[in-house]
Symmetry: C2
Amino acid sequence: MPGKLKKSVSMSVIRRLPRYYRFTGELIEQGIVRISSGELAKRMAVTASQIRQDLNCFGGFGQQGYGYNLVELREEIGKILGVDQSYKTVLIGAGNLGAAIAAGMNFKKYGCELIGVFDSDPNKHGKKVAGFKIQGLEALGEFCKREAPDMAVLCTPKSAVHELADALISYGVKAFWNFGHYDLSLTHKDILVENVHLGDSIMTLTYEIRNN
Amino acid sequence: MPGKLKKSVSMSVIRRLPRYYRFTGELIEQGIVRISSGELAKRMAVTASQIRQDLNCFGGFGQQGYGYNLVELREEIGKILGVDQSYKTVLIGAGNLGAAIAAGMNFKKYGCELIGVFDSDPNKHGKKVAGFKIQGLEALGEFCKREAPDMAVLCTPKSAVHELADALISYGVKAFWNFGHYDLSLTHKDILVENVHLGDSIMTLTYEIRNN
């Protein structure tokens, strides 16, 4: 069982953890109770030694000759990922994508709780998205002081991200799930940023089409 | 100028290319005409030698003592990424996220052309998304035979991805931009897949919040 996490787990290991979490969930759904690192590796198309090394970063979970108890493994990975938490989350930018994320993303499943939706467009104010009345940005400061959100989802155009992040950081928000095509971590230090740059993603695919 | 691409450019280099494309665009918008690899590196928070190495994979662009001509560099990176192409694209799954992608994504900017939107839900058929009448999946085979799309955007639940990919591959589609939480490349070989797993992404952020 992992206790306090070791420091300095590399980002590449961390980025693989959600996939372990997904896969163990699928295997449990299939009625599988335990699995060897070799069998898990085969199903995930990675090497058994990578799985063992990755999980050892968090204290190790398997038992020699028995393999992994899937329910336990999944639960522990979930705790490491924070899905047992309830991080208060605000979403800024209720355009097409923002509204889709607000309405379609199962935040609770990932340890988050959506508590408010904001947009700069007065025509949207008072309309509902995912059960939340869209509020204006002028209400954001007061809201953050009262609710102290842990995380902000930024679904705004690139041009708005910089200023919004300034404001949110001054309100105490420290983590950003950023869909704006702006490299927040370049200008804002000491915050946690996870970028979803859809344009970068589709260009990786067009590269592959062009060069295959 | 890069001619025919060298083989075996690593995925990590390819994944950095869109960022170069974005950054050079921003610098040009700021009126900058040329830049040294050192200055570009500083702005992108990477090392100059990484920039030189990355771009050398494609034949090199800079000129000793002059640096990079930004307009030329961006144009060449764009060509390598295929943004000067017009890959025919179908989108399957017109739920919250699919509709947002169809309506909000500037496909043309990334060398793609949306040509049709499909959904399994009969209640959606005939309704319009991004100017396209949503069609039923039963029309997909005929449509693909006629239009020969290069790429499919999958915005369907995980459970539908496997079967849909089977069908689309049999219709000749070879590239998939996959928003379904299903590892398509594990079961379908010889296709190009770019995954956007939003759940994995948000869990990377909750990990950071939990462990910082």
